[in-house]
Structures are given as C-alpha cells and as structure tokens.
Symmetry: C2
Subunit: 331 residues, 2 copies
C-alpha cells in the first residue's frame, strides 16, 4: 500500500545521484548533457513513475497549460459541435495542452474569467458579449469561421470554404431547370452570410431567381414547415430545396410530403450541414460534409502553434468541404 506523495524531480535526482537541475535538463532535452546521462536519468525517472507536476511547471513558465473552447449558447446540442470538441481535445492533448470547455455564461455580466493560455471560438456570433470578454483576457483567440464584428482581429482562424461548398451543391442540384429554394440562418455568422452570398451569386450567374427563407440556426420544425410551404408556392416553381441547418432537412422532407411533393421524384431536398441522422433515413439526404472533427483539430493545432511561437499570428486556414450525394437528390 504505497500511499505516498507523488514522485518529484528531487526524488528522481536523489535516486540518480544527481541534482534536480540535471534531471530537469535530462528529461526536457535542454542543457548540455551527454546522451549517457540523459538516458540513465530518464530510465530512473520512468522506473520511479515520475510525472511532472503541471501546476509547478505552469507557474514557473507563466502559462496555464490549457486552452479553452467556447460555443455560443445557440449552438449547443448540435452534433457538429460535439465532434468539433472531440477533435480539438485530441489535438490539444497531442500538444500537451488541456482542453477546457467554456460554457456560455448564464449571467452575461460577471463570470469568472477562465484561466487559459488561448481560446477557440466556434462560430462567433455577431453581438455575442462573450466575444469581448474573451478578447479582454489578452490571450490569443482562434475562431472557427470568421468573426463579423467590425474591426475584430484575432490571432488565427480556420474557415470552411462555404462558398465553394454552396456552389458545388447548387451545381449538383441544377439539373432541373426550375428554382432552388434556400432555407438559411441569418447573417450574424459568416457561415450564414457566406452561404447566402454564394447562393445569390450562383442564382445570378445561372439565371435563376434567388429564393431565400430565414430559419433559425437551431432548427425548429415549425419554421421549416412554414418556409417550405411558402417556397413551394413561389411563382416559377421550385425543383429543389436546400435546408442549411443541421436537422432541418428531415423536417423539410416531411413538410414537402405534406404539400404533396415526393422526394426525390418530385422534389430534390438537400441539407447543407451533414449529420449521421441524415444518413439513417429511408431516403438518405444529400449534404455537404464540413468535417467538424477536422475543424476542431485544425483550430487546436493552430492555436498551439501560435502559443509555441512557430505559427505567425494572423494565420488563416481554409478547410475544404465535400459533397455527399445521397438518394434525396439522385436524379
């Protein structure tokens, strides 16, 4: 029953008959030590089960050893963000950083600032007061997607190429000559903004009328029903519907059915955000894979690189998207 305190550098030093400086240098690769000494000390450390105390290391180094991940409140519950968080945690771990989850504060006024070396914001939403709070921490901020706040400048950014994704999806749907309706969240995120912009541009280029219907970011079936009903009444006829939000497309299929339209025979339906639940349907729904896991990984890697000093602040990475064609648009 070895109920003893944890092994410290000092313990290893004693066991190895050297000073704690030597142990520290040997294990970290710093200092001027012959390989023989390094190996000997490392072997003893391993044998004793030494594991460095992070608090001490962090105190000495003036860091916290953690990076944060913030989700705006409205995004909670979407599978997308779960995947992103896991990707970020994996990558952070690989860089010897802990991933701390930062919930949207119930009390927007005073919430204790987290103790972190940097923070990732997944899908900054225009007007979210938490953005200011995080910026005030004076630590590097990496955003997933762009922050539309005027004048906002962050240490780094990873963004999906939603304009290309939108064009690819629309090209895929353009087989029928009639209009394509877009059910899309608003322009308070670059996600919504880019999709809308690309959609309008595509419509202009292809001589189609742009039919945009507002739906909230987190899908409410009532709104989808309403938007679908309205879209199907559009003059000129609608041959395809793109529902952007995660989960909206299933509602759109049902709403269309209620309007007497069959998918895909009668009407094409696609989602923009892909999710496992779209694959599981009797008629699986075409969607754009925006690779949340990879997004989380990239953001964490970028932030870790900035913190370590070998990535220039201001770096922007673009993540490609991939169209997943399924039965709901096969024609």
């Amino acid at each position: 029953m070895n109920e003893s305190r944890p092994i410290t550098l000092q313990d290893v030093a004693r066991a190895a008959g050297v000073s704690k400086t030597t142990v520290s240098d040997a294990l970290s690769g710093r200092g001027r030590l012959p390989a023989a000494t390094r190996e000997r000390v490392a072997a003893i450390a391993r044998e004793l089960g030494y594991v460095a105390n992070r608090s001490a290391r962090n105190l000495r180094g003036g860091r916290t050893g953690a990076i944060g991940l913030y989700f705006p409140a409205r995004t909670i519950g979407l599978e997308y963000y779960m995947d992103l968080a896991i990707g970020a945690a994996e990558e952070a771990l690989a860089h010897d950083l802990a991933l701390t989850l930062i919930p949207a504060p119930a009390d927007p006024g005073r919430t204790p600032p987290p103790h972190i070396d940097g923070v990732m914001v997944s899908d900054p939403v225009l007007g979210d007061p938490m953005l200011g709070t995080l910026t005030d921490l004076r630590v590097p901020v990496v955003t997933c997607e762009r922050d539309l706040t005027p004048g906002a400048r962050h240490a780094g950014r990873v963004e999906s190429d939603h304009r290309a994704g939108t064009r690819t999806l629309l090209d895929h749907l353009s087989g029928r000559g009639d209009h394509i309706a877009l059910l899309c969240p608003g322009e308070e995120t670059s996600f919504g903004l880019d999709i809308r912009t690309a959609y309008r541009a595509w419509c202009a280029d292809n001589g189609r009328e742009a039919l945009v219907y507002d739906v909230p970011f987190v899908c409410d079936p009532e709104d989808v029903n309403h938007a679908v009903a309205e879209a199907l009444r559009a003059p000129g006829g609608v041959g395809a519907i793109v529902s952007v939000p995660d989960g909206g497309a299933t509602s759109a299929v049902h709403a269309a059915l209620q309007q007497g339209r069959h998918v895909p025979a009668d009407l094409l339906v696609a989602s923009y955000v892909d999710s496992p639940s779209l694959r599981g349907l009797a008629t699986p729904i075409t969607a754009v894979d925006i690779a949340p896991r990879e997004m989380g990984r990239r953001a964490a890697r970028l932030l870790a690189g900035i913190l370590a000093g070998h990535v220039a602040p201001g770096t922007v990475e673009i993540l490609p998207t991939e169209l997943m064609i399924r039965a709901s648009t096969s024609h």
Copy 2:
C-alpha cells in the same frame, strides 16, 4: 498601453499598505481580520483588477483545479453527450473548477495521463481499457450510470432510473394488446442492461412475449431496418416498437413504412433516448427525456462535493426520467 505583467497579491498588498498575507486572508475570508480591513483590501484588489493565479494556488494546494470528463469513443457524436458536457462545464465553473475534455485515446496503450483532481465517466463501457487508466490516477471517479466491471468501486455515481423510465414507456404503449418489440444496445453498459431487464420483467408481468433485437449503441440505419423487418415478422403481431438509441427511431419509422405499416395508425413507435431531431419530424416521436444537461450538472456537483470533502465518497444519486408523449404513439 498597459503592457504590464498581471497584478499579483504582492501588488495589491503594496497598494493597500499591508502584507500579502493580509490580502490573501482578506480575499479568501480566512484569518482574523476586521470587516473594515477586508472590505478596504477587496476594494483595492477589485480596482487594480487583481485575479488570482491558479497555477500558484494549485501548486500550493496540491491540486490541479480541473476535473475531467471522459466519453468512451463509441458515444461520440451523440447530442446527448454534448448536452451533458455543457451541463458539467457549467457546474464545474460554479465550483471554481475547469472542465477538461478527455478524448478516447487513439493509442490505447500509452497516453499521457491528464492532470486532474477527479474525473467523470459518462457511460462506462464494460471492457474499456481507459477505465483502468483513469482509476490508476488515484483520483475520485464519478460515473454517469453504473460501471459493470466486476469489483469496480468508484467515488460516486449518478444514474438515471431507466427501469422506471422503461416501465412508464411500456405502460404508455400497452393500450394495444399485441407485442412490443425492443431494439436495444447490448448489456455492456448499465443503460442497455437496465432497459433490457426492465423490459423483460414488464413483459413477464403483463403476459407479453419479450422481443429483443440487438442494435448498436450508435445507430446504424441498416441494423434498424433489419431489426424492424424481423420484428414485424414476429408471430403474434407487433403493435409497437421501442428503439432505444438516439436517432434509431426515425429509421424505425421509415423501415416500418417500407413494410407497409403506418405510424401511429398502424404501429406505435417510440424512442428511448430523446433528442431535438425527434421533435422536428412530421410525426414527432415519443421518447423518454433522460435530461443529459442535468446529468452532467449533477455529476460535476457530486465530484466537486467529494473533492471539497463535504460529500461522502460512495454517494449515489438517482435522476428521474420523464416520458414525452408525442404523435408517434397517440392512440
């Protein structure tokens, strides 16, 4: 441009004309100080924007200031776990603890142990090697649901009353006299085990045949299709299907439709795990709300209490479930 180092206790002490001990005592409520001094020091600290350095505090106190949350790999992507994580993060923050996400290790052998004071395991899976790794950290472990590993004893546990939830759901579905099929994940989690057990007991009590079909924890529509087809062929007739996994029920509805059965006129379908996507359907699906957010909160609170010493190790909390009746079972 105040590009200075952070304010320390010493800085506050100088500004207030007292010692750092006095500042520490004043801010923490310890020591013997008159209220006047406490307030004066606190005011100065606030004015200077003092915020305690966690690394130093943790080093001194021998803690890490963080608790971990581990999800087994198979659970990734489910909305349930996202909600649970957010709940846990909120509650941890309220106890001045950071919530560190622990991903399932890609390399099951050697992964650097996280630096945490305690850990929550959401849905321990029998045979997961990570359970042993976490136990070896010698920090309190709180599980969400029971750990079925023989001899496993943890510091605390929060569990949903799935047996009651199952009975309530079955009672609700029992209006029709014919059989109720259960699509359920295996018995490697207490979740699957309890639902199966309760189901069998209920069937025995109510003179119905038990029809259990294995489906994986993360829903694969093919498996659901197969299971539904098989269930509907069962002699004696099936009047209702309960699909346990998150997301399985939508596949079940479609599979049933393909077999020529209509929901709810012809067949009742319910999910066990509730999720927003079940509400969004043309025919919303009845489910049991197992309150993931609250589960996360409770687990974090329990762990924080154990760490603080005012909750006895071994405490078990039971979380009630609530049946959400929707159109898919209205009869």
